[in-house]
């Protein structure tokens, strides 16, 4: 009988299962849950995109594409980044089409991190950065951000964590779970710190299309940053294409070439059918995207107002599709709050500490749901908070 414990990789065994998993099981076993817990759009992929995939299935041979991705898609990605964010990437050598933004993050970390390298991770954040860094024998150094700064990374916080071992900064804005964004001025300050170092930036901008009131700015556009930035994005959030598994990364040629090697050996190429559809999404769907953004914005306003009214203070998030209200006034921890809310009102939200220790005292609420659904959930949360803060007996 094999002793599995002795054959498995030590690094993999050390990896903690996602903090969300436990809570997920709890929700899955409750009848009639009103969930505000997902990180994917409720909208259907635009019909034009779906139709293109159907046509591709009928007419095209579904064969491997070039490792880097279809030439036409890379060229459209390059045009899109120029048109939207004033970024210049050569589609021939600086763009790689990946299996979702997730693979792009994985490639970037694997291509750059040597054992002992420190990687700065801005928290609260999406759950995948730290485990991958540690799998590479890197050292994950978290930088907690604060509500009073609207969960932005400040230059001082960055400076305080830089050492001569720092290899990379992972900068995830617009942010999941807080909804915080970094404006051009905020990014200028970060660039000022990094410009004369060899520290690279992995900028995860998967939510870049979803900002409210102001246009997204990429750190790669700031002077001196293009050469030290790995830009990661994808189709899941902006075009409601989560299940299509398609993302991309852009980086200076010497880095992109190394990442492409890993991609060639591990993945071959992203799904060809999805790539055909994505050409249309990125080229022809501005209107559809705008419609979704407008709808998210309406929902965002109703949630921010709702939570503040209930007494769970909530800064106004300007990006992604999450609000991140503070639940400290209830005297509960994030996990207690979520477990009780699920048990008593059958409403599922995600504990903030699932996204890093600095998320403690907050919960993530997704507004990728219909207005009707959100308003119903708000009523339940209001009742719950009144019951637990003595506002209502």
């Amino acid at each position: 009988m094999i002793n599995y414990d002795s054959v498995l990789s030590d690094k993999v065994k050390e990896m903690k299962p996602s903090g969300i998993r436990k809570f997920f099981d709890l929700a899955a076993n409750t009848e009639g849950v009103i969930s505000l817990g997902v990180g994917e759009p409720d909208f259907q992929t635009p019909w034009l995109v779906r139709k293109t995939a159907l046509d591709a299935l009928e007419r095209k041979r579904m064969i491997y594409s070039a490792n880097q991705g279809l030439g036409e898609l890379r060229s459209e990605i390059s045009k899109y980044l120029l048109r939207k964010y004033n970024l210049r990437y050569d589609p021939k050598s600086e763009v790689v089409v990946t299996v979702g933004g997730s693979e792009a993050i994985d490639l970037a970390i694997r291509a750059l991190v040597n054992p002992g390298d420190e990687v700065l991770i801005v928290e609260p954040c999406f759950v995948c950065y730290k485990p991958i860094v540690e799998l590479m024998h890197g050292v994950a150094v978290t930088i907690p951000t604060k509500q009073e700064n609207r969960f932005k990374l400040t230059a001082d916080e960055l400076r305080a964590h830089l050492t001569d071992k720092t290899k990379m900064l992972i900068l995830p804005y617009p942010n999941n779970p807080t909804g915080g964004i970094m404006t051009r001025e905020d990014l200028e300050a970060i660039a000022e710190v990094l410009r004369d170092t060899d520290v690279l930036v992995l900028s995860d901008e998967i939510y870049s299309e979803l900002t409210y009131g102001r246009k997204h700015c990429s750190i790669a556009e700031i002077e001196g940053m293009h050469e030290r930035t790995i830009y990661v994005s994808g189709f899941s959030k902006a075009f409601a294409m989560t299940g299509w598994r398609l993302g991309y990364l852009c980086a200076p040629e010497p880095i992109a070439a190394q990442m492409l090697k890993i991609h060639q050996y591990a993945i071959m190429c992203a799904p060809t059918m999805s790539q055909y559809a994505a050409i249309v999404a990125i080229r022809d769907c501005d209107k559809e995207v705008q419609k979704m953004v407008d709808e998210y914005n309406t929902r965002r306003r109703i949630l921010v107002d709702g939570f503040n009214r209930i007494g769970l203070t909530c800064f106004e998030p300007e990006g992604a599709f999450y609000v991140f209200p503070c639940i400290k006034s209830t005297g509960m921890t994030s996990e207690e709050f979520c477990a009780k809310l699920l048990e008593e009102e059958k409403v599922a939200v995600v504990p903030g500490n699932a996204f890093g220790a600095s998320g403690e005292g907050f919960v993530r609420v997704s507004y990728a749901y219909s207005l009707k659904h959100l308003m119903q959930a708000l009523e339940c949360i209001e009742r719950f908070v009144k019951r637990h803060t003595g506002g209502d007996k």
Binding site: I20, G37, L371
Partner: protein, 160 residues
């Protein structure tokens, strides 16, 4: 703000001015003023409930009747269309481009009711050349709302 306001009211006319103001990022007073203006200008003509007819007891029958008519001097189709619209049985009258002129939606208690309305009242109007009656069997979508096909949310409850 006007278009977005109309679109929100179309989805749910029972939203309060306060809720609408939050959603639109404006003030309650501005919403109230805009709604008053829309009502005054006749853009919003009224507010009604979207009812799933199959779930209420009344066993009403609905038919769509294609009418071919002779347009009249000076007023074209308007006069006969307005005349048809006078009948209580008539729910909706539209002028059409194509093989016929007026599309008339009629509601009655039963098929016989509608048949009598067509051959006694509509067909005999002067100017009506012919009628073709189509009975509605089932409605899947009404006023932009899908009926009885509430889509199941297949997403997981919790995802990072």
């Amino acid at each position: 703000m006007r278009n977005k306001l109309i679109s929100l009211l179309r989805q749910n006319a029972r939203l309060s001015n306060e809720q609408l103001a939050i959603m639109l990022g404006t003030t309650e007073a501005a919403v109230a003023a805009e709604i008053r203006a829309l009502e005054k200008q006749g853009v919003i003509m009224g507010y009604s409930a979207i009812v799933n007819e199959e779930k209420i007891d009344e066993d009403k029958v609905t038919a769509i009747i294609e009418l071919r008519v002779t347009p009249q001097k000076d007023c074209g189709f308007d006069e006969i269309a307005k005349l048809v619209a006078q009948y209580d049985e008539v729910d909706k009258v539209s002028l059409m481009a194509g093989a016929y002129d007026l599309a008339v939606t009629v509601k009655g208690d039963n098929v016989k009711d509608i048949a009598m309305f067509v051959y006694q009242k509509l067909a005999t109007l002067s100017g009506v050349l012919s009628t073709a009656t189509h009975f509605v069997l089932k409605t899947y979508k009404d006023k932009g709302i899908l009926i009885e096909t509430e889509e199941k949310d297949e997403r997981e409850f919790i995802m990072p």
